[in-house]
C-alpha cells in the first residue's frame, strides 16, 4: 500500500515535470531546459514503474532497454540536421508500434479480455488500432522523407477513399467482436493487419512537402493510444502523458498546417501536396524555399549581424517605417544592423536615402556598396526587402545578362539570405535572379510592409 502510494506520487511528480517541461518548450529561451525537465520526468516515471510490487522478468526488461538504447542513442546523435524530420517520424513510429504490441500481448494474456471490464477491452483495442496505424504510417513517412519510397504522391486513384474506409471498418469490426466476447487470435491479427494497411495507404498518397504535418498528426495519435493504454492499465502517468501529447499534438498539427496555408483534412485527403505543395514554390525545375515571419524573426533575433538590403519594392510598399521599427527591435536585442544602399536601388538617385531618412534611420547605419560588400561574409542574415536586380549574381557571372558588369551587393556571401517580395516577378531589368534559388536563401512572400510588420510582431513575441 505505502509503496503503491509512493509510486502514484512519483507518477504525479513525473507528469508535473512533463507539463512543466512542455511549457518550457514553447519559448525559445526555455526550450532546451524544458526538454531536459521532461526527460527527468520520464526518468522518474520509469523508476516508479520498476518499483511496482511483483516486478520480475528483469532480464527481459534489461534486454529490451539495452537494445533500445544501443539503437536509439547513436541514431539520434549521428543523424544529420537535414534528416531530423524522418528521424522524428521513426521514433514516433516505434512508439506506436510498442503500444500495438503491448495491446496484442494483453489480448493474448487475458484470453481476449475475457475477465476484464469492457472499458479495458475497448481502451486496449483502441490503442492497438491507433498504435498500428501510427507505426506503419510513420514508417511510410520515414521512407518518403529518406527517399526510400517515392516522395511524389502515390495513390490507388478513385478507390483510395472506399478502400481506406473498408480497412477502418474491418479493424473496428474485429475490435467490436472481441469486445462482444470473441477471443480468436485471428481477430486481433486481422485488426492489427488492417490497421497497418490503413496506415500505409493513408500516408502513401501524401506528398513530401506535407510530411511534417502528417508526422505531427501521427505523433498526436500515438499520444492518444498511449493514453488509452493508460486507461486499460490504470496507470496515471500513461494517461496524463499520453493525453497531453494527444491534445497538444492536435493543436500543434493545426498550427503547422496553418503556417503552411493548408488544412489537415485537405492534407489527409491526399492526392495532392508533394513536390508541388505550397511549402515549395517551383519555378521551372528549380524550387525556392519559403519561410514564415516567425522563422525569419528567430533567424534575425539570434544573429550577431544583420544587413538590410532595401530596394524598389520597399519604396512601393512604403515599408520604411515598418523596417525601422523592426531594426530597432533587433538592435535592442544586441544585433548589429546595417542598411546596404546600392547606388541604383529604387528608381531615382537617392531613393532609399529619402525613404530611410523619413523613417529616421540614423545616417551611420546606412552603408555604401563598397563598404558593406566587405561585411557580408561576416553577416549572419542578409534581409533583402523588395530589392532584386541590385542583388543579382548574374551581374558578376553571366556576360549575356543585361545587367552584366553592374556592381552588385554580395548578399550571397552572408550566412543566410531572407528575401521579401510579393512573388517571383523580375525587377527593372526584367531578368531572373539566381539568388532566390540558392540553398541559403529563403523567401518571405507578401507585400514588404505587411511582411516586415509580421516579422516585427514575431520578434516581440520571442
Amino acid at each position: 500500500m505505502t509503496r503503491d502510494v509512493l509510486i502514484q506520487l512519483l507518477y504525479i511528480v513525473a507528469f508535473a515535470l512533463f507539463i512543466y517541461g512542455l511549457m518550457g518548450l514553447t519559448g525559445p529561451r526555455t526550450a532546451v531546459r524544458g526538454n531536459w525537465i521532461a526527460a527527468t520526468g520520464m526518468g522518474v516515471a520509469v523508476v516508479a514503474t520498476l518499483l511496482t510490487p511483483g516486478m520480475g522478468n528483469w532480464w527481459l526488461i534489461l534486454l529490451g532497454v539495452a537494445i533500445g538504447t544501443a539503437a536509439g542513442v547513436p541514431a539520434a546523435k549521428r543523424v544529420k540536421m537535414t534528416a531530423m524530420p524522418q528521424m522524428v517520424a521513426l521514433f514516433n513510429g516505434v512508439g506506436g508500434g510498442a503500444v500495438a504490441l503491448i495491446a496484442w500481448v494483453e489480448f493474448r494474456q487475458s484470453a481476449g479480455f475475457a475477465h476484464e471490464p469492457t472499458y479495458v477491452a475497448v481502451a486496449s483495442l483502441f490503442s492497438a488500432i491507433v498504435g498500428s496505424v501510427s507505426f506503419w504510417g510513420s514508417l511510410v513517412a520515414y521512407g518518403k522523407l529518406q527517399e526510400i519510397v517515392a516522395s511524389r504522391p502515390v495513390g490507388v486513384g478513385k478507390l483510395q477513399q472506399p478502400l481506406n474506409l473498408a480497412l477502418l471498418l474491418v479493424s473496428v469490426g474485429c475490435a467490436a467482436a472481441v469486445v462482444a466476447g470473441a477471443d480468436s487470435s485471428w481477430l486481433i491479427a486481422g485488426l492489427l493487419v488492417s490497421a497497418a494497411a490503413l496506415g500505409v495507404l493513408v500516408v502513401l498518397p501524401i506528398g513530401g512537402a506535407d510530411m511534417p504535418v502528417v508526422i505531427s498528426l501521427l505523433n498526436a495519435l500515438t499520444g492518444l493510444s498511449a493514453a488509452a493504454m493508460g486507461l486499460a492499465l490504470d496507470n496515471t502517468a500513461l494517461i496524463v502523458a499520453g493525453m497531453i501529447v494527444g491534445a497538444s499534438g492536435t493543436i500543434l498539427t493545426n498550427l503547422m498546417a496553418k503556417a503552411m496555408n493548408r488544412t489537415i483534412p485537405a492534407i489527409v485527403a491526399g492526392g495532392f501536396g508533394g513536390g508541388s505543395g505550397t511549402a515549395l514554390a517551383v519555378d521551372g525545375d528549380r524550387s525556392v524555399r519559403r519561410t514564415s515571419a516567425a522563422d525569419a524573426a528567430i533567424q534575425l533575433a539570434f544573429a550577431n549581424q544583420v544587413i538590410i538590403v532595401p530596394g524598389y519594392g520597399m519604396a512601393v510598399a512604403q515599408a520604411q517605417h515598418a523596417v525601422r521599427e523592426m531594426a530597432d527591435l533587433l538592435e535592442d536585442r544586441g544585433v548589429t544592423v546595417y542598411y546596404a544602399i546600392h547606388p541604383v536601388a529604387g528608381r531615382m538617385p537617392g531613393h532609399m536615402n529619402v525613404l530611410l531618412a523619413e523613417a529616421d534611420v540614423p545616417y551611420e547605419r546606412l552603408k555604401e556598396m563598397d563598404d558593406i560588400n566587405r561585411e557580408f561574409a561576416r553577416t549572419d542574415v542578409a534581409m533583402v526587402i523588395g530589392a532584386n536586380d541590385v542583388t543579382n549574381p548574374a551581374a558578376r557571372t553571366d556576360p549575356d545578362s543585361p545587367i552584366y558588369g553592374m556592381p552588385i551587393l554580395n548578399v550571397d556571401e552572408s550566412q543566410s539570405v531572407i528575401v521579401l517580395k510579393r512573388g517571383m516577378a523580375t525587377g527593372f531589368a526584367g531578368v531572373d535572379n539566381a539568388l532566390y534559388f540558392a540553398p541559403k536563401t529563403t523567401m518571405l512572400f507578401g507585400d514588404a510592409k505587411s511582411s516586415v510588420s509580421e516579422v516585427t510582431e514575431e520578434l516581440k513575441a520571442l
Binding site: V344, P349, G350, M352, N353, V354, A357, Y363, L366
Partner: protein, 365 residues
C-alpha cells in the same frame, strides 16, 4: 455702416516690402464684426492679391489714411505720418526699442500708436504675436536660402555617381525662427544642430529632431526675462566666440538668429570662424537688421569671403508675401478685436495688459 470704425490699409512703400497688413479673408471677418475696411488700390499687388479680391471680400477701395485706424506692416515714413488723421489709431511694427523717434513723431501727430512688437508675450496675446508669426516665415525661408546658396545638397544621396553626404546645418540662437529653420533644414534631409544661450532651449532643439551643440562645462547660460535672452558680458562674449569658432568648422551651413531685445545683435561668428569653414559653405545671418551675428555679413547683401558665402537677408518674410501677410493680418485682426467692441465701435481699454504694453504713444502723453 458709417458709424462703424473704419480701418485703412495703405499700400506699403518701403523698399522690398511685398506684404500687406490685411488680406481679403481677414477683411471678411472684420466686416462680420462690423468694421469697415478701406484699402488703397494696389495694396495687395506685392502679395499678388488683386484689388478685386478685396472688393469681393467687402472692402472699399479708397484713401486709407483718413481712416479711424490705420494698419500697416512697416513703420510709417514721415510723409505717411503726416497723412494720418489727428486722433487716429495706428497699428503696425513701430520699432519702439531701436527707433523711439517713430513713437514720438506719432505722438506729435496726435496719433495713438500700437506697436506689434511690443505686445507682451503672454498666453492670451499669442494670436497677436506678429513677431512669432513673421519669425516663422523667416526661419523657414532662412533654411531655404541656405539650401539655395550652398553649392551642395542638403540631403544624403547614394547614386551611381557616388554618395553625397547629408549637409550639416548649425542654427545659432534658437528662438522661434531658429526652431523653424532647424525643422525645415531637417525636412530637407540635413543633419541639424542647434545652439542657444538659454539652457531650456536644449529640449526644444531635440524636439525638432536636431542635436544640441553642447559647449561643455564652460557653456554660457544667459536666460533673460520674458523668454528672451540677456546680453552677455564682454568676457562671456569673447569666450562664446572662441568656443563657437571651433565648433563651426565642421558645418556646411550656419544659420544665425540670435537677438537680444533692444540691443545690437551679438556677434557669434567672427571673421576667423568664417576662415575656418570649408570652401563653399554658407552663413545665413537673420540678425542683419540688428547688425548681424556674423562679423563679415553686410545687411541685405550676399558676400563671398574666403570662398564662404555669407548672406544677411533683410525682411525675409516679405519674400513670401502671401502667407506672411495672411499670418500678419490675423495678428492685426486679433489686435483690432481687442480695440473695438462687437458693435464695431472703438473701445480702447488702457487698463488691459496687452493694450497698455502695445501702446507706445499713450493718449495721456
Amino acid at each position: 455702416m458709417t458709424a462703424n470704425t473704419v480701418v485703412g490699409v495703405p499700400r506699403e512703400t518701403s523698399e522690398g516690402e511685398r506684404r500687406v497688413a490685411l488680406v481679403p479673408k481677414v477683411v471678411e471677418r472684420l466686416r462680420a464684426r462690423n468694421l469697415s475696411v478701406v484699402v488703397e488700390p494696389g495694396a495687395g499687388a506685392g502679395a499678388l492679391i488683386p484689388d478685386t479680391a478685396y472688393v469681393h471680400s467687402g472692402a472699399t477701395l479708397g484713401d486709407p489714411w483718413s481712416a479711424d485706424v490705420v494698419v500697416k506692416v512697416a513703420p510709417p515714413s514721415p510723409p505717411e505720418i503726416a497723412r494720418l488723421r489727428r486722433g487716429a489709431l495706428f497699428v503696425g511694427f513701430l520699432t519702439p526699442l531701436t527707433d523711439p523717434g517713430k513713437a514720438r513723431a506719432l505722438a506729435d501727430a496726435g496719433v495713438t500708436g500700437f506697436a506689434m512688437e511690443a505686445i507682451p508675450r503672454i498666453s492670451r496675446a499669442q494670436s497677436m504675436d506678429a513677431l512669432s508669426s513673421q519669425a516663422t516665415v523667416s526661419g523657414y525661408r532662412a533654411a531655404m536660402v541656405a539650401a539655395e546658396l550652398l553649392t551642395r545638397f542638403f540631403p544624403m544621396l547614394t547614386t551611381a555617381a557616388g554618395t553625397v553626404p547629408p549637409a550639416k546645418v548649425l542654427v545659432l540662437g534658437v528662438g522661434v525662427a531658429g526652431l523653424q529653420a532647424l525643422a525645415t533644414a531637417r525636412r530637407l534631409g540635413a543633419r541639424t544642430t542647434g545652439y542657444d544661450v538659454r539652457p531650456e532651449v536644449a529640449d526644444q532643439v531635440r524636439s525638432v529632431g536636431a542635436q544640441w551643440l553642447d559647449l561643455g562645462v564652460d557653456g554660457i547660460e544667459a536666460a533673460g526675462s520674458g523668454g528672451y535672452a540677456r546680453a552677455l558680458t564682454d568676457a562671456e562674449r569673447a569666450e562664446q566666440q572662441r568656443q563657437l569658432g571651433k565648433a563651426i568648422t565642421g558645418f556646411d551651413a550656419v544659420i544665425t538668429t540670435a537677438l537680444v531685445p533692444g540691443r545690437r545683435a551679438p556677434t557669434l561668428v567672427t571673421a576667423d570662424a568664417v576662415r575656418g569653414m570649408r570652401a563653399g559653405s554658407v552663413v545665413v545671418d537673420l540678425a542683419g537688421e540688428a547688425g548681424g551675428n556674423c562679423e563679415l555679413s553686410e545687411p541685405g547683401k550676399v558676400v563671398v569671403a574666403e570662398s564662404v558665402t555669407i548672406s544677411a537677408p533683410l525682411n525675409l518674410p516679405a519674400t513670401m508675401p502671401e502667407h506672411a501677410s495672411e499670418l500678419y493680418a490675423r495678428n492685426v485682426q486679433a489686435v483690432l478685436e481687442l480695440l473695438t467692441d462687437p458693435a464695431g465701435a472703438l473701445a480702447v481699454d488702457f487698463g488691459d495688459e496687452i493694450v497698455a504694453g502695445a501702446c507706445v504713444t499713450g493718449k495721456e502723453s
